[in-house]
Amino acid sequence: MTTAVLPRENYLNTDYRLRSWLLTTDHKRICILYLLTITMFFAIGGAFATMIRLSLVNPAGTLVSDETYNKLFTMHGIIMVFFFLVPSIPATLGNFLIPMMIGAKDVAFPKLNLASWYIFVTGGCFTLWALISGGVDTGWTFYTPFSTLSSNTNVSLAAIGIFIAGFASILTGLNFMVTIHRMRAPGMTWFRMPLFLWSMYATSLIMVLGTPVLAITLLLVAAERVLHLGIFDPSRGGDPVLFQHLFWFYSHPAVYIMIVPGMGVTSELIAAFSRKRIFGYEFVAFASLAIAVLGFLVWGHHLFVAGLSIYSAMVFSLLSYLVAIPSAIKVFNWTATLYKGSVSYATPMLYAFGFIWMFTIGGLTGLFLAALGLDVHVHDTYFVIAHFHYIMVGGAIMGYLGGLHYWWPKMTGRLYPEGWAKLGALTIFLGFNLTFFPQFILGYMGMPRRYHVYPPEFQALNVLSSAGASVLGIGYLIPLVYLLWSLKYGPIAGDNPWGAKGLEWTTTSPPPTHNFAVTPIVTEPAYNYAGEQEESRVG
């Protein structure tokens, strides 16, 4: 940390030509490619959200037409879920960090990694094309028979776009799994791995096992539209609820694709900024796997009022409660880690606090939804909207931003401005709560989701929510601006600005193309801040 210059040779400056970026197989450069792409998608998704909130200020819905409004929330959901949040942490931080954290030169299949990005971009283009050439209005859930028989928008095109992007997800997951299994440096046993890797492994598992089912489901929808096959068509005896089964077989586990990486980041942040080993390391590690496995057994909780058998609903509700337990374990272990730690209030740590808090609220309201008799009332109301935004915006995005700030010095070699960063974090936190807390109340009062016009008694809370969304939008702009600024003007960070443990901090910032000058040999467990000797264990 003595020198105030960037390392002469690093992955960013080996070659400046565009070609060298577009044909790179370096996992760190691929991270940057993804970072740019998903930021763009976030901005698009955010623009739709802005329109939604603007329109909802007025209960009569005069700003846009009904059709337009329906397209707005559909495209907002599709873009935010499939093109922003699902790839967010895995494809950026995961790509950057997995090889570094296990002491490898690259992921197992570097070319495939690049191919995944191209596949992702292709899928994105299809979806954007669907959007520009008229939009889609099915909701991100594509329920049949509306999507197959009724809607006359670009459903097939959007479905194909998601289908294609799905393969990027599958291949990334596959790549990560093989990398973690086979590319670990000598001495890096499973139980010496940072918890971020456990969470990425769990996430990859879900991507690999769930995404193909989404792919085939959307393919069936497209086939039904284009080829007039009849799989879900009620007039031929098809069952629309079957579509929901297949869709949620992926899409429930997918919500864990979106949160588990954030949990992994939070584990890293909590450990690094309290300079302490995570309390109950093994429990947190196995909780990730438990979520991944149990997460596949609860999809029916989206179908409680949809025509599911009531007995089956009971089983799904029970299992939904069980899947909450590993999440609870994580939350408690993070909290306990702070005990007798050396807690710093750096911006990433603020995001970690935000994550835990917002995730707890979002998660606990998930218990309301898993409660059968209560879900009958709150299903498809703003209560659900608030639930998942608390987890996905309050939780996952805060985790993502926290991770981005924490590893920013490693990725770019420069520090972000701390004061501005704290301001940004605070603005986001306040704006977020102002936007989404009123929606819980709205939901319980009975305001249905996907409503363009609504009864006037809901207006006050909607206005409050829209006001919050403006604050939130500004909040997101702050990091965007100062992170860009720091690329050129930020102070040089040095190898390990946080005094953190972990292989990624042992190499230069930004790291060289092959990550490490020599392949590291690991001799201690993760987060060994106290410098303990390890009791011998075979991995």
Partner: protein, 220 residues
Amino acid sequence: MTSQAAVAPPRALQHHFDSLEQQRDVATLGMWIFLVTEALFFGGLFTAYLVYRSMYPHAFAVASEHTLIALGAANTAILITSSLTMALAVHAAQEGNQKSIIRFLVFTFLLGTAFLVLKGVEYTVDMRDHLLPGANFAIAGANPGHAEIFFSLYFIMTGLHAIHMIVGLSLLVVIMYMTSKGRFSKEYHAPVEVMGLYWHFVDIIWIFLFPLLYLIDRHK
């Protein structure tokens, strides 16, 4: 890859691996995981099939009698044989026998093509018999809607299987080309092996499709 410069390690070794052993291991593991995703991909269709068969057993039985069992059975035999030749190609690769690899790959390719040709013939007959779901669909003895669901599944399942065959044939061509360039040896033949895994998997899918689509209630 980029490491042509390195002299000592074998040419096929990519820069980020320590040994060919690791590289091969990684390739097979990757392929197996990919096949898991393929299994779940078809799994969605099998689920739909199971649901509807349990709802409409009668219509499925009647509709299934309209499939061409002779062609289906012949195709099953063809695919099994192609799996044998594929296995023998991998065997040849393990022994480093270039000529045998090519020979068995060509057999596999021809058998695969034969499968697709027969399938094409079958589709033509099916369409002639008004079994393609849509306006022209007609069937006697069963609820037409339910039978249409059967044939929707039939066409989707066999169609996706056929697409997998086509992908497999294209990959075969690539592997044949690589073999002819002398890329493979006793020590390094991971691509042939991985190709084999894929091919066998496509065979397995058919092993299930055949009884599910062709063999319901033939005894009537």
